[in-house]
């Protein structure tokens, strides 16, 4: 077997590529050629490594030295100094608070994280199944189908307390159990990879960095519920994730880890990709089913729930990417291992994309229940340029804001709703005092107005009216009655919308009204935007 003394892991996540990662990689390849090192140094293109704001990044093993903000010009120096002489190029190292960190593990960004879902992201070549297998990939599946009954599998998942990471937090084991009990010749597993919340890219990172973990999770789910076919419904906006998934599926099929008679057992399971086409509502599971069936992505009535009658009218389990990526770890290490992270009711970890006004934006994974303060200040390095934390927004357009006074709130499925926010899929947007909360609410509402499927009245017409009122307020024409009307209308939309999108669409408005009512009042009464964002047409 060929061995390389240096493994240079270049992040090939979308963000690092966007930041010019490809240019750096090409320069590196060229330099290696120039110095005759191609036999000694292996370049591995990995998925996202996390601290995206510092990209493009590269980690050089065996030492694990992490280089940040790379440009093509840096390749020569790295090769000559580090690869040839073993001298780290210090100017490219991670610097924070006047400290310099040689490896990722030493950084405060990494220190408070626990990586289960992201265990392989940034560490393996996602386009090579053997690297995944080396990390224990597919061993859980193998154990499930050779040593365990579907009921055993469901029991472990139930015991682990794993909850759906797509937003609502429905217990995964229970969903599987319900699907397992359905009597049907055909059942389906759908992986919801239609990560739609603006400002969220956890799922994409997993798919780009460790696609096999999702495929394995799907196959285990298939075994548990009695399904032989899985679909991954993925946003068309994620071309790299699609490409890596296509490669992963192909390799898994060729290795006999997907397809007929997996590992010589009589369990068969195969996975197909279905591309979405740009509709946020397709993240809603019944809309997603319609879209997978080639129709307009409009939600269906529930009940029947997908576990009873889903894709093509058959029992269907829909799990999100992150949920599925947890599965093989739980099988491998047991429910108790999983339960040592997180809280009693929200066990395990959660990936967040920490973005916005924060020093180190990026992809993180922390135990559930980690206080918001730890995430923003310890991991994210606080607010840049001397600004102050004003609020964090979770759950995207369905979510709400957490104001500064609640910075110590544990981030889990129980505590967030108490503040009118939701966990959501993991988008975490940090805002400082330069953000106007009315404007932020308007931003989200504009989003839902655009993305409403238009089927039911409260969502189609109601959100539009709410937006009208917000526009009135942000241009200084609002009245105090408008604030009441917003609340009243918001409640009717929540109460009577057909699907989750509509039922949560008013949340950003209701939540900002709750925590930042004074800002609304300033817009209405004083005709002033305290953050100086809104162009108030009418001045007092």
């Amino acid at each position: 077997m060929k061995t390389y003394r240096i493994h240079a892991l270049v992040c090939a996540g979308t963000q690092c590529l966007a930041a010019g990662g490809n240019g750096f990689k090409d320069a590196l390849v060229e330099e290696l050629k120039q110095h005759g090192l191609t036999e000694e140094v292996l370049i591995v293109e990995t998925g996202c490594m996390g601290s995206c704001q510092l990209g493009p990044r590269m980690v050089v093993y065996p030492e694990g030295i992490m280089y940040t903000r790379l440009s093509p010009e840096d390749a020569k120096e790295i090769v000559e100094e580090d690869f040839l002489k073993g001298r780290p190029v210090t100017r490219l190292l991670w610097k924070q608070d006047e400290k310099q960190f040689l490896t990722l593990h030493e950084t405060p960004f990494f220190a408070k994280q626990t990586r289960i879902v992201l265990r392989n992201c940034g560490f393996i070549n996602p386009e090579d199944i053997t690297e995944c297998i080396a990390q224990g990939g597919y061993e859980s599946l193998a154990r499930c189908i050779t040593e365990m009954t579907p009921k055993d599998v469901i029991k472990i998942i139930k015991d682990s307390g794993l909850r759906g990471r797509g937003g609502a937090g429905f217990p995964t084991g229970l969903k599987w159990e319900l699907a397992n009990k359905q009597i049907s010749d055909t059942k389906y597993i759908i992986c919801n990879a239609d990560e739609g919340d603006p400002g969220a890219y956890m799922n994409r990172s997993v798919l780009e960095g460790d696609p096999h973990s999702v495929l394995e999770g799907m196959a285990i789910a298939g075994y548990a519920v009695g399904a032989q076919k899985g679909f991954i419904y993925i946003r068309a906006e994620y071309p790299l994730a699609i490409k890596r998934l296509e490669i992963a599926i192909k390799q898994a099929r060729m290795s006999g880890l997907l397809g007929k008679g997996i590992l010589g057992t009589n369990f068969s399971f195969d996975v197909e990709l279905r591309m979405g086409a740009g509709a946020f509502v397709c993240g809603e599971e019944t809309a997603l089913i319609n879209s997978t069936e080639g129709k307009r992505g409009e939600p269906r009535k529930k009940p029947p729930y997908p576990v009873e009658s889903g894709l093509f009218g058959k029992p269907t389990v829909i799990n999100n990417v992150e949920t599925l990526a947890n599965v093989s770890v739980i099988i491998e290490k047991g429910a108790d291992f999983f339960r040592q992270f997180g809280t009693d009711k929200s066990p395990g970890t959660k990936a967040f994309s920490l973005v916005g006004k924060v020093n180190i934006a990026g992809l993180i994974e922390v135990p559930l229940g980690t206080p918001l303060r730890t995430i923003v200040f310890d991991i994210g390095g606080g607010i840049p340029e001397g600004h102050t934390f004003k609020a964090a927004q979770t759950g995207g357009p369905s979510g709400g804001v957490i104001p500064a006074k609640h910075l110590d709130i544990p981030m889990d499925y129980e505590n967030l709703p108490q503040l009118g926010a939701i966990m959501g899929s993991g988008g975490l947007i940090v805002m400082d005092e330069t953000s106007c909360m009315v404007d932020v609410a308007k931003f989200f509402l504009k989003f839902t107005v655009d993305e409403s499927c238009g089927k039911c009245v409260p969502c189609r017409e109601g959100t539009r009216q709410m937006l009208n009122i917000l526009e009135k307020i942000t241009s200084g024409l609002g009245t105090m009655e408008d604030l009441d009307l917003l609340e009243k209308l918001g409640n009717v939309i929540k109460q009577t919308s057909l699907c989750g999108l509509g039922q949560t669409a008013p949340n950003p408005v209701l939540s900002t009204l709750r925590h930042f009512r004074d800002e609304y009042i300033a817009h209405v009464k004083d005709k002033v935007c305290p953050a100086n964002v809104c162009s108030m047409k009418a001045k007092k």
């Binding site: 580090d82 073993g86 053997t130 193998a142 060729m254």
Partner: protein, 124 residues
């Protein structure tokens, strides 16, 4: 890519694949330190490194990492290499490519320290 037909085959493949990933792992049997401190020794050190790599390849030994880091002060006579095995670090200095090959065969692979050339030893 061939079809994996049983859980045992999967485990075998896992072991094989892990060997390939040794460079990235924490635990390896042998860590080989080769570093250059003085610019004039660059070429000689590089010859040692290439000899080491060649010998490891020849012997089909993969449970190692090569770390380009000087674990000692600057007074060491280069070319230099150190070998970490069984919780013990052995330093060899002033070596030639041929010496390096022997160190690999004898010490790295068989676990027998080439005592004649040892310049220093330390427990981890």
């Amino acid at each position: 890519m061939e079809k994996i037909k049983s859980i045992d085959e999967l485990r075998r493949l896992k072991e094989q694949s892990q060997a390939f990933l040794k460079t990235r792992q924490k635990d390896v049997k042998v860590k080989i330190y080769i570093s250059v401190d003085k610019e004039e020794n660059t070429n000689a050190s590089r010859d040692v490194l290439l000899a080491v790599l060649d010998e490891l390849k020849e012997r089909d030994f993969s449970d190692f990492q090569i770390i380009e880091k000087a674990p000692m002060g600057s007074d060491i006579k280069e070319p230099f290499m150190a070998l970490e095995r069984d919780d013990l670090v052995i330093y060899y200095s002033n070596i030639t490519p041929n010496m390096a090959r022997e160190i690999i065969v004898s010490h790295a692979i068989k676990g027998q320290i080439v005592s004649d050339w040892v310049s220093k030893r330390s427990n981890l």
